[in-house]
Amino acid sequence: MVTIYIDGKPYQVDAGQNLLHICLSMGINLPYFCWHPAMGSVGACRQCAVKQFRDENDTRGRLVMACMTPAVEGLRISVQDPQAVEFRASIIEWLMENHPHDCPVCDEGGECHLQDMTVMTGHTYRHYRWKKRTFRNQNLGPFINHEMNRCIQCYRCVRFYRGFAGGRDFDAFSNHNTVYFGRKTDGVLESEFSGNLVEVCPTGVFTDKTFRKHYTRKWDLQTAPSVCVNCSLGCNTTPGERYGQLRRIRNRYNFNVNGYFLCDRGRYGYEFVNSDRRIRQARLRRNREAAFESVAPDEGLQRIKEIVKKSGRTIGIGSPRASLESNFALRTLVGPEHFFSGATVKDHELVTEAIKILRDIPSSMASLHEVETSDAALVLGEDVNNVAPMAAYALRQSVRCKPQAISQKLKISDWDDTAAREAVQDQKGPLYLATIADTRLDDMATRTFHASPQEIARLGFAVAHQISPTAPQPENLDSAALELSKMIAQDLKDAESPVVVSGCSLEEKSILYAAANVVQALRSIGKPARLFLTLPESNSLGLELLEPGSLNQAFAIAREDNVEAAIILENDLYRRSNPALLEAFFKSIPSVIVLDSLDNPTAQKADVLLPAATFAESDGTLVNNESRAQRYFQVFVPQDDIKESWVWLRAIGDALGQEEPGARKTFDGLIADMVKELPFLAPVQEISPASGFRIAGAKIPRQPHRYSGRTSMHANVSVHEPQPPQDPDSPLSFSMEGFLAEPPIEQPPASLIPEFWAPGWNSIQSLNKFQEEVSGPLIGGDPGKRIILPPDPEQAAYFDEIPEPFASRAGELLLAPLYAIYGSEELSIHTPGEAQLTPPLRLEINPRDAQQFNLTGETVLQVSVDSQVFELPLHISASIPEGTAGMICGLPEMPYVALPAWGKVTPKPVNSSTENPG
């Protein structure tokens, strides 16, 4: 800590930190453009100029760039100095020279950093009155709109896209007044983090194209804190609604989880909420052959009551994409012994196993932020770019940690981005990728290893053994793998905070064990190694924590125990199990009750269908891959008869006259019950204040104070203004009225901030007012709490379930699951842009196998696995290991097949009919 003087006032600050970072952290407004809290300083825009004085007698001083000046003891600067103020205003005028005056139609208007900074510097009238420079804009695909005329050449976009997100197809072109940021030719931006350009760009060059299709002003959006449902990482988001339609998703900062960025799947995967396929009314039918008829909710409940009352037994099937509360409500309704996991049988086993592993070593669970700051990483099995994209972003940053030693040796501060990168050049920290095939992270990897799931697990076991000889050793490891395992072990041992990333995507338990062994081995030699496991879905962990039975058990009970009714919660079982098994299951159950938001094959099997709310229309808790329970809040009140699943389930309980323990009538009561029954879930109660929470007697408004059209927007329904909807479940209100946050003076707790806004800071850059320190945790602690908590139990024993070496089979290939960022996930595919980028169905085969099977170029293959037969076009890919074949799973056209599995592959007979696959 050193003392510096800003405008004569002493401040205690971190030595060596740059002055811009310090000023913003201290609450002093200083305009900037090229600096970004996550990307450091480059000193390009000259906007953050302050005056520095030699000592207290110096009255002349000199202008310095705050972002490039480190704090040293006794430093004296002035932000208010007239010369500095004038300089900053003149820089804005200069930047604005070519900036069009199109704010009224600009999508960024109202949340524009350039607008904010222009106002902040006091610059109002421009002297420039000649023609402005113009550019041709590019079509950058379905997500990003390009409007180059608005560019102020801060270079943030290209720095983010190339330097941080690792994209290659975007660059800065030309020079002088015509610097151009874009691609060489029009086309879809390849990086899965391209959506962040919208938030990184300080003005309206890059704007959200999906938002543009249903544009509304930023100040007209009703927002609430939310959590992404499109993968297991649980990135924090801020969805915005207007007029009953979810309009867009923006990032919500969480120091431990997603920081400043989101992936495109999460950012754009919201459009299913507005889908035509939403179930909006309760539906009934007399028998399975009859058509559905829409009925009033009460009639639906009445029918359910009749069904459940007369039946001896009702089973419940939960869902890894429904909230913890909804799953618990179902569990209570049907009883724990009749509650089954809605995940696939394999996922159920794997996640249960992952929970066991995490419980053995809770103190070494890595958060996403910890992955980002680890200096060596081993990825076992996961294609993170497609399974959990933000983890890929974190790993990309992690390779920059170790080489920091080079720049630090040259006394270059870490925030001095250009200088540090110049010093480091192409040096990268250790990152080892053991995957089935190529990944988009390969360019960062020290070494890659492509092999079958078993071999990946064996490599992991070998690494563990190399680190600590007490760990079991795989037999008959081939020499290349042995050599690699030695190299990996050495790098992990040399690192200060190594991380092992693994997960469930290859559906191979032994990979989890191998990852756990590596971490255990490293910890046994005193390294603070961390484990990061990705899981299948947004609430996989939460669901399995409720200890449900597996789907197969549900099928068995249905077959044997004359179950009368099944309640299926937010789950399309046709994505979870073999269609033949499901047909038998539905046949054996007289009454099927389905709660879901989108029409799907399972909903088509229902006898009673209840319209469930999506994440944007409900309150709930999701437990992410590191067991962090995070609350999401209802953004808007859905139209029609849509209700939250736990509300439906509670109503069913009521109709049955079930004795309600505690006050389960309310959301708070439900959570209290849950904690009472499962005490280890206690953190769920603490992640956000209860619904009775008020600040100065007021609720926290979801609508900004500038919200427009209140008195006329519902005039087509009734000119009498309706009372704003009441929200008994949270301390937020569906209104403009309530406590107006005035950061940093007074603001709601971090878990309840509907939107980051501070006076004078309308863009996302307002975050600095809500953080303890720039790019640090939010004031009062970041939202979310881990459920699996330290202290660790006794050092657990090593796993020794080492799989046999992979042996190829004659005439068969091991079909291994591959994933696509757009397509493998159930909900995001409903966004037209994501559907457009979904890869085609195909079977990827190694060229040598193709040769062996006599398969060439354009063949369509017939693939038979167990009793299922599919037709898939052939795709020859050199990165697929011999003896295996890759199949992108989860695509909407594909029926479920349990992978990895051995399959027979033959060319499709010429005269066979083109039936649907399966």
Partner: protein
């Protein structure tokens, strides 16, 4: 004394002269009083000469409205179906005239001079639901040289997000 009597007559003479004057009352509604040129009456949404709407759906009027009486929803123009020369147009435009306080902030906020407060002051309604003026009620009819909207326009003509405009004359 005399002065006081005189004063009374002076007063009476004013009354008597006024009796001979033309009355100031007018026979409303048969007769209508002209208003000042800058009178702020009921809103009008304007068109260009070619009939395209001036409103580009930016919703700044709605943001400026202190009574929250304006509701705007924007949609994108295409050359096949063009309403305004900009990127967007107002697909919904509603003003609740019961809430409007005729302050004219909407007019001030409008970047294309699309909305003005007209001279019409006859805003009374038989029912409250009649007080909500929708876009078709507010939009002026296309002029003699213009077509109504939506229009089909040639590609590449309307490429600017804000239409080219002269500087305001007054």
């Amino acid at each position: 004394m005399i002065r006081e009597i005189l004063a009374a007559f002076t007063g009476l003479s004013t009354t008597l002269t006024s009796m001979l004057d033309k009355p100031v009352t007018i026979q409303y509604p048969e007769e209508k009083r002209p208003v000042r040129p800058r009178f702020r009456g009921r809103h009008i949404l304007h068109r260009y000469e070619n009939g395209l709407e001036k409103c580009i759906g930016c919703a700044l009027c709605a943001a400026a409205c202190p009574a929250d009486a304006i509701f705007v929803e924007a949609a994108e123009n295409t050359d096949a179906e063009r309403y305004s020369p900009g990127e967007r147009y107002a697909s919904t435009y509603q003003i609740n005239l019961l809430r409007c306080i005729y302050c004219g902030y909407c007019e001030d906020a409008c970047p294309t001079e699309a909305i003005t407060l007209g001279l019409s002051y006859e805003v009374s309604f038989a029912g409250r639901d009649k007080a909500v003026y929708t876009k078709d009620m507010l939009l002026e009819p296309a002029g003699p040289q213009g077509k109504s909207t939506p229009q089909q326009t040639p590609a590449g003509v309307y490429t600017r997000s804000v239409p080219v405009m002269e500087n305001p004359a007054d």
